[in-house]
C-alpha cells in the first residue's frame, strides 16, 4: 500500500456515504428539470411543419400578433413592479417600527397564498361596473359614472398590484429588519436627519436586497397568466407572452412552437434579471451588521 486508500482520498474531497444522499434528488432534477429543458430546446429547433431549424423563432419574430406579446408583457410587468417596490419601501420602513406586525403581515400574506385565480375572481366582482370600488368612488363624488376596470389592462394591473405589493413588501421588510438598528442610531447621534439617514445609510445597505426584490417581483409579474386571461383582454392589450405560449402548445397542439415561445419568454426575463443584478455591482456590497467581521 502506498499512500491512503481511494476511500480515504475521496472522503478528503468530501465524497463519502453521506454525500451519496444527494444522488436521488440530483437524479430527480436531471430527469424532470434538465432533461425536459434540453428536450425542449431540441424540440423547439425541430418545427412541426418542417422547414429550417430556426423556423419557430423566425415565425414568432415575424408575426406582430406574436412578438407584440413581449411588449405587452413588459408594459404590464415593469410598471407594476416599479409601483409595487415604490410603495413597499416606505411602508416597510414604517412597519419596521411597529411592535405588533404580525396581524398586518398575516393579512398581506393572504393574496399570495390564495393565488391569482382567486384574486381574479374577486376583482371581477369588486372592480365591476356596479362593484364596491366604483360605487365608493361615485359615493365620494370622485367619479360621475363607473369606469371600466375589468376585461382590460387595468384589471390585470390591479391583480398584479394585489398579489405583487404584499410580496415586494414582505421581502423588503425582511431585508430592512436585517439591518442593525445600531447603525441608524449611530447616524442619528452624529446629527443625520431622517432624510439623510435614509439616503446615506439605509439605501446603500438596501440596494442589493432591493435588486433581488425587484427581480423576484418582476419574475412573478412577467409570468402573469390566469389573471391576464380572466381579468384582461386576452386577445388584445393583455395578450401576454405566456398566453401565446399556452395557445401554441395546447390549443394549436404545436408543442414545438409552444416550447420555442416559452424559451423566448425565459430568455427575455433572464435578460432583465441579469441587467438588474449587474447594475447592483455598482453599489456597496458588504455586511449590514453593526459588529465587526
Amino acid at each position: 500500500m502506498s499512500g491512503p486508500s481511494l476511500k480515504t482520498r475521496l472522503a478528503a474531497q468530501g465524497l463519502d456515504g453521506t454525500t451519496l444522499l444527494v444522488l436521488p434528488g440530483l437524479l430527480f432534477m436531471i430527469a424532470l428539470f434538465i432533461y425536459p429543458f434540453v428536450y425542449g430546446v431540441a424540440d423547439s429547433l425541430m418545427p412541426k411543419d418542417g422547414g429550417l431549424w430556426y423556423e419557430n423563432y423566425a415565425k414568432f419574430f415575424s408575426d406582430q400578433f406574436q412578438y407584440g406579446t413581449i411588449a405587452n408583457t413588459m408594459w404590464l410587468a415593469l410598471p407594476v413592479t416599479i409601483v409595487n417596490l415604490a410603495f413597499a419601501v416606505p411602508v416597510a420602513f414604517r412597519v419596521r417600527l411597529m411592535r405588533r406586525q404580525r396581524l398586518l403581515t398575516t393579512i398581506l400574506v393572504l393574496p399570495i397564498t390564495l393565488g391569482t385565480v382567486f384574486v381574479a375572481d374577486g376583482l371581477l366582482t369588486f372592480l365591476g361596473p356596479r362593484g364596491w370600488f366604483n360605487e365608493t368612488l361615485i359615493l365620494f363624488g370622485i367619479l360621475d359614472s363607473p369606469v371600466k376596470l375589468t376585461n382590460n389592462y387595468w384589471g390585470v394591473f390591479a391583480s398584479l398590484l394585489i398579489t405583487g405589493f404584499p410580496f415586494a413588501f414582505l421581502l423588503t421588510l425582511s431585508y430592512i429588519t436585517g439591518i442593525d438598528p445600531a447603525i441608524e442610531q449611530a447616524a442619528a447621534t452624529l446629527g443625520a436627519n431622517a432624510r439623510q439617514r435614509f439616503m446615506r445609510v439605509f439605501l446603500p445597505l438596501l440596494v442589493p436586497g432591493l435588486a433581488v426584490t425587484f427581480c423576484l417581483s418582476f419574475v412573478q409579474a412577467f409570468a402573469v397568466f390566469p389573471s391576464a386571461v380572466l381579468l384582461g383582454a386576452p386577445a388584445g392589450p393583455t395578450r401576454v407572452i405566456s398566453i401565446a405560449a399556452y395557445q401554441a402548445a395546447f390549443e394549436q397542439y404545436d408543442h414545438s412552437y409552444g416550447t420555442a415561445i416559452a424559451l423566448i419568454m425565459g430568455g427575455v426575463e433572464l435578460i432583465v434579471v441579469v441587467a438588474i443584478l449587474g447594475a447592483r455591482s455598482f453599489f456597496y456590497r458588504g455586511p449590514a451588521g453593526g459588529t465587526k467581521g
Binding site: F93, R94, V109, G122, T125, L170, L171, A223, F250
Partner: protein, 280 residues
Amino acid sequence: MIRDQGLTSKIWRIAVWALATLFVLNLLAVIAAVIVNSFATRWLGTWLPRGWTDRWYFSAWNEFQLSSVVIVTFEMAFVVVLISGILGVMTAYALARRDFPGKRAIILLFLLPLLIPPLTYGIPLATVLYQLGLGGTFWGVVLINLVPSFPFVVLVMIPFIEQIDPRIEAAARVFGAGTTSLFIRILLPLLLPGMLAALLLVLVRTLAMFELTFLIAGPQTQTLVVSLYYAVFASGVRAGQSIDAMAVIYMVTTLFWLIIALQFVNPTQIVARAKQQSAH
C-alpha cells in the same frame, strides 16, 4: 428606534399609513366581495344583496363535482408533500454537511425552478410527460408539482440543518448508535420543527399552484384551483354566486393550512424563501 417629531415627518407618516390602510381595505374588500356574493340570492347594483342563502354551496358542490375534486386535490398535495419531504431532507442533509466539488452547481440547479417562470419549464416538461402517457393522470400532476416544491424543501432545510451541531451526531456515534437509530433518535427530533414548517409551506403552495397543474391536469385530475379557473373562464354558463361559492371552498381549504403553517413560521418566510442563496 428613532422617532422624528417634525411636521414633515408627521405628514409623511400619515401619508404612508393612509396608503397602507387603503391597500389593506381594498384587499379585504376583494375577499369580502367573493364571500358576500356566494351567500347572495341576487346582487345587482346595490351595496349588499337583497337576500341571503346558502343554496349556492350545495349547487356548486354538485355542479362542479367538488367531492371528487377535493379528494384529488388533497391526495395530490399530500403525495407531493411526502415525496418532496423525503427527497428534500436527504438532499439537504448531504448539501449541508459535506463540501464536495460541484456543490455550488447543484445548489444553483435547485434555485433555478424558483427563478424561471413556471410556464418556461412547464411546457417542455408537460410535453415530455404527455409523450410518456402521463398527461392527465394523477402521477403526471404529482411529478410536475414536485419540480418547484422539492427544491423549495431543499433550500429551506439547508440552513436549518447547518445550524444543528454535527458534534451531537458524532457523540451519538461514539455511544454506539447505528445509522438508523442515529436518524430516528437524534436527527429526526431535531429536524422536526424545520421539516414541519417547510412541508406546511409546500402544502399551501401546492394547493394554490395553478400554472403547472393546469398544463397537465385532465378532467379526472383537476385540482380545486384549476376547476375554479375553468369555472371563472366559462362564467356566464353558471351562476356567479355558484362560482364564488366554489372560490370560498377553495379559500377555506387553503387558509386552513395557512393558519396551521403560521403557527410555525413567520409570514415573511413565505416569500423570503431561499433569500440567503439568491442574495449573496
